[in-house]
């Protein structure tokens, strides 16, 4: 149980924070250097059809993980499920870290990020899912910071204003659903098109959120499971582990259903499914990020093993990134309307700069998280 003293913010720079911070600075400087020196060759996107590349994959991945964490946090904060109190604050910290990491990558990718900040709200293009996504992400950022401030000031999860927590949950839900609609609305891109996508995105967000909070709880305790309080350990091995198993199962069902239907379909554009299943990345996402963690978290004797939880959580996080990549990139590989000028299936692999952006985002998110953990009293739950 937390004491008043332990809840008071006390900053202590951990080796984790220092390491992540240094790596972030190095990758950031290298990213800026590459962007300046490579100029137009920095990105591997082209006008033939792959318009959104790896940075957008990672941005979406981080954003969806952030809202997934906010949804998990909303269970104790908004719904009052006190059993989840021990991880509420960590979820909020991680949600901030993932959001900052993702938005930083987007700002490095987008040509005019600052223009987006005024041109989007002022022009009210309500027909665009992207308009709503940007608007909701703006509101979500504010609500998330307010929630974090309340927690940082020493409020217990049950003391965070309920309307604020409900708003946080609703915005997180809306962002995940709208992010799905961004792709799902595109009727002439059959690989993406479908009304189920908003639901899939919500489920995958929660799945990412649960995997992150399980993995990073152990990170916060220096990867020493014995030092994790008994109550928290039981939470990870019990309700959270089971919830993750359910989310992974649903994700697997959606993936398999989409794959089988896609392989059977003979519509133009659906031939990308044959390519998709021939790629190791697809199987990494499916087996490594799906089947293996499902076995771990669905088996009572396995999910109580801390190291299996750590590996399982990590596998889900990596598998989700692989799935996000395969979904977003492969959806663009059949070039629409380019005739014989373009190959029947485009090729894309992230450029060096795009990889550096990814690592920059990862290290930035880790720095923010480590900083928040060091500063707050999360460890004394």
């Amino acid at each position: 149980m937390a004491t008043v003293t332990s809840l008071r913010p006390q900053f202590k720079a951990s080796p984790y924070l220092i390491g992540a911070g240094i790596l972030f600075i190095v990758t950031f400087i290298y990213a800026v250097y590459l962007k300046v020196t490579l100029g137009y060759a920095a990105f591997n996107t082209t006008n033939y059809g792959v318009f959104w590349g790896f940075p957008i994959v990672v941005y979406d991945y981080f954003l969806l993980t952030s809202v997934g964490l906010a949804l998990v946090a909303a269970v104790p904060l908004a719904l009052g499920v006190r059993a989840l109190d021990p991880i509420a604050k960590r979820c909020v910290w991680l949600a901030i870290a993932a959001l900052v990491g993702g938005v930083a990558i987007l700002f490095m990718e987008l040509a005019h990020p600052l223009r987006a900040l005024w041109a989007t709200p002022l022009n009210l293009q309500t027909a665009s899912p992207l308009f709503w996504k940007i608007l909701c992400v703006g509101a979500y950022t504010i609500v998330l910071v307010l929630t974090a401030l309340a927690l940082a000031r020493g409020a217990r999860p049950g003391e965070v204003p309920r309307p604020l927590a409900i708003l946080l949950g609703l915005l997180a839900l809306a962002i995940a659903a709208i992010a799905g609609s961004v792709y799902g609305m595109l009727v002439f891109r059959p690989f993406w098109y479908g009304g189920e996508l908003p639901v899939v995105f919500i489920i995958e967000s929660v799945m990412g959120g649960l995997a992150f909070v399980i993995f990073f709880t152990y990170v916060a305790y220096g990867m020493a499971p014995d030092t994790v309080p008994q109550g928290t350990r039981e939470l990870l091995a019990g309700p959270l582990g089971v919830a993750l198993a359910v989310a992974v199962l649903l994700h697997l069902l959606f993936t398999l259903a989409r794959t089988v239907t896609g392989l059977w379909s003979y519509g133009e554009g659906m031939q990308v499914w044959q390519y998709t299943v021939s790629q190791p990345l697809y199987w990494l996402g499916l087996i490594g990020g799906g089947v293996v963690p499902l076995v771990v978290f669905a088996t009572p004797t396995l999910r109580t093993q801390p190291w299996l939880q750590i590996v399982g959580g990590f596998l889900v996080a990596v598998g989700l990134l692989a799935s996000r990549y395969e979904f977003l990139i492969n959806g663009q590989l059949v070039p629409p309307f380019k005739g014989s000028w373009a190959p029947s299936l485009l090729e894309y692999a992230p450029s060096q700069f795009e990889w550096v952006l990814f690592f920059m985002g990862v290290f930035l998110a880790n720095t923010i998280y480590a900083g928040l953990e060091s500063w707050s009293s999360t460890r004394q739950e």
Binding site: R115, A116, T120
Partner: protein, 252 residues
């Protein structure tokens, strides 16, 4: 109200790419930034090969998905039915490129498609992405309408030569290069077409040549299933223009 539209007669088109060249010159486009292109399609295998082609400008859709998805309203539709991009509002998110079923939008802050990179040979001054010696005169450029050479980090597309057609006499039914009164207002690709396969005029005027051609020769639009309702019509002898997908080859 005028609703500008184009008719392309595929029975006359020879695939010569004069339109493509004229568009690139008129609008100072970079290599690879084909606002207008003639797409070639190959079907079958040797010796039974069929080659077909399709000239493709922006369709200036009546119900444009690019306009609907643009989060900042940088892409918009004018009262006279033309889809334009305001480069001062474009954030370079490329959602419009993702959402255009006809693949007619370009983002030129990418790897060059030919060497040397002409942006380095003719570096842009001020806000221009490049500065070719044969560029469009400055007084015609309008960044609020996506006319001229774009700044960095925005999307560009065919404007229906808005710098020309918007100055045409009010109420005119057709913009025809053979009519001295409208020649200067006729889009560049229409004006240079050697077999006169391209026509440009007011789709809302039943007496315009474009309206008559669409009615008499059963003009068709591409990808009707998307609901975009292009304002570019194709004449193909009554049949739908053939745009074979990759899969038609696979299964043939």
């Amino acid at each position: 109200m005028t609703k500008w539209g184009m008719v392309i007669d595929l029975e006359k088109c020879t695939g010569c790419q004069a339109c493509t060249t004229a568009c690139a010159m008129e609008n100072s486009r970079l290599p690879g930034e084909a606002w207008q292109d003639v797409l070639f399609y190959h079907e079958g295998r040797y010796p039974n090969v069929k080659v077909s082609w399709l000239p493709r400008p922006c369709m200036h859709c009546e119900n444009p998905s690019c306009v609907a998805v643009c989060p900042t309203k940088a892409t918009y539709k004018t009262e006279d039915g033309v889809v334009l991009v305001d480069w001062d509002k474009c954030i370079g998110c490329k959602y419009c490129m993702i959402a255009c079923p006809y693949g007619v939008r370009f983002y030129m802050d990418e790897k060059p498609v030919v060497q040397p990179d002409l942006r380095e040979v003719f570096p842009g001054d001020g806000d221009r992405i490049w500065n070719p010696p044969y560029r469009m005169p400055d007084h015609l450029a309008d960044r609020k309408k996506g006319i001229g050479i774009q700044p960095k980090g925005v999307v560009s597309k065919c404007t229906f030569c808005y710098h020309k057609i918007s100055k045409a006499p009010k109420g005119v039914a057709d913009l025809d290069e053979d009519d001295p009164a409208t020649r200067e207002y006729t889009p560049a690709c229409v004006r240079v077409c050697p077999p006169k396969a391209r026509y440009f005029g007011d789709l809302d005027n039943p007496n315009s040549k474009v309206s008559q051609l669409i009615a008499d020769k059963r003009g068709v639009r591409l990808k009707e299933e998307t609901g975009n309702k292009p304002q570019v019509y194709y004449l193909a002898g009554g049949a739908a223009p053939v745009v074979p997908g990759e899969r038609s080859q696979e299964r043939g």
